[in-house]
Symmetry: C2
Subunit: 307 residues, 2 copies
């Protein structure tokens, strides 16, 4: 392994992503001290018991002496985490985050950072439906994309820090991309936020039906529904914050989704099989591209674990 | 293994389900002759090359002498398959099917059967996103539900045939349930048909965006989108037929889905985090029930195959 890009890392928020960063650092750079803090005392206790790093009792203590601080809380709690860490922030510290929305994080976090901090927003496009410090694993970022949305900061130290942060994530297995925050938010609105919103909605709809019992819905879930329940099992707090933070991006793609759904609804009502067939055929093609891009396996998944 | 419930089986339509039945019979009852027919000459050739059974050149030849005939074509082609097989149908033959909708299949198939046939509609709630004779596997039905929707047929032979057909599917690994066709169609509308319609729609919506490139959608699909592409990769012909055949059930649950989605859209627009949180929390609970019911594994799946 190459030289570590940072020599002392603080992770604020020890959930799925935060604990995965700690585990990945332990695997790839066992010599680097990792300072951890979480606002939840039980999570701090669990993180210490799991041996994920040096658990501190305040964000400022965790931040003290770090050359990289990563905010890994739900998006709505990042401003608070940054403010709490501020007293411990060293000169020229690099501050980043892992939030699923970027414009709102930039707006809310920036006012709480000292001028000497170099803030480089980031988002690892990786996760599972589980949450909490037990759910992380070192390989979570392997071959997944990490998107950085650097600010318009003219300082030469800022450009150097972006390069170092890219190197940091590559060392944890990720592939790194850069884009501006607005484009990030719209791209993730369609690839992640809308799918989650839809999954939550479809599961809630199933629960509402008087004519079909919940037991039957669960029993016959192998027909497609169970895949939605997996996505809908994701952390409610995290996702509430994502939708509040990326309101414009989500409403934009949601409007388009609703138009397309109405068109298919009309085709069903009027028996227009050609429109259905053409739409389904287009959708099938995208699947091949996802597999070719290495973002999923080709193994049949719907019939998984059949024996 | 116990005595086979039938001694000569004909499967008409050799796709994912039909070829899985043939393979499961070879595994569990290697002595039973399986007669196969598919309207597509290339599929017949492939089925023969795969050694899935005795491939016949007409549906009537495949049906000849069988005591069980299973229609395994897309729902829209079942009437034609039944009509074609009719000249070969033996006295008191049991005819069943594997269609994802039941009321429409009953309406379209029944007129083409001789009076002496015992028609017992069925639906194995199992599948993958793949199609064609190569995609089947013997374990597809293991621990999955098979729903029978028997007709209102007073003949004693009919009741006996239902019991035998239940036994047949249990021998292939399935769990068997009975319900009436209308309830089946509404249950499957929410657990299978709506999820597929939504997945097709969301993938098509992603493809339409001018502001986000398709390449980016594919690249960042690990955030949730890729799970929808898998479902949307299912066979377009089969699904066109399902939506045309179960129009009423699909429109009913689609209406409820749209209402619920509009409520969440409103919560996002007005920053109502509590409504979002409560809905997401309810949805998460259903996931636990699906796992407890043995219809999915608890292994984190979104981060699958990370290395």
């Amino acid at each position: 392994m190459s030289e570590p890009a940072f020599t002392r890392v603080a992770v604020l928020g020890v959930g799925l992503i935060g604990s995965s960063i700690a585990r990945a650092l332990q695997r790839y750079h066992p010599g680097i001290p990792v300072q951890l803090f979480d606002a939840d005392a039980q999570v701090r206790q669990r993180a210490a018991a799991l041996g994920l790093g040096q658990v501190q009792d305040t964000a400022a203590h965790a931040a003290a002496g770090a050359d990289l601080i990563i905010l890994a809380t739900p998006v709505g709690a990042m401003a608070q985490a940054a403010a709490a860490a501020r007293p411990g922030m060293a000169h020229a510290v690099v501050v980043s985050d892992v939030g699923s929305t970027k414009q709102a994080v930039i707006e809310s976090v920036t006012p709480h950072l000292p001028d000497h901090a170099l803030f480089i927003p980031g988002h690892p496009v990786a996760g599972t439906e589980y949450s909490g410090p037990d759910s992380g694993f070192a390989a979570l970022f392997d071959k997944r994309w990490l998107i950085l949305t650097p600010l318009d900061d003219p300082r030469p130290a800022y450009a150097t820090a972006v390069t170092r942060l890219e190197e940091f994530w590559r060392q944890l297995g990720a592939k790194v991309a850069r884009m501006d925050a607005a484009r990030h938010d719209l791209t993730l609105a369609i690839t992640s936020h809308l799918p989650h919103l839809i999954a939550f909605t479809i599961v809630a709809t199933a629960e509402d039906l008087e004519t079909v019992t919940e037991a039957d819905v669960v029993k016959y879930s192998a027909g497609g529904f169970r895949d939605f329940t997996r996505i809908a099992a994701s952390d409610p707090t995290m996702w509430r914050d994502v939708f509040l933070a990326n309101r414009d991006g989500v409403l934009e793609v949601l409007g388009r989704f609703s138009e397309n759904l109405a068109a298919l609804q009309r085709a069903i009502r009027w028996g227009d099989g050609q429109t259905l067939f053409d739409t389904f055929t287009r959708a099938r093609r995208v699947r091949r591209e996802v597999i070719e891009a290495g973002q999923d396996t080709a193994a049949p998944n719907w019939g998984r674990d059949p024996s």
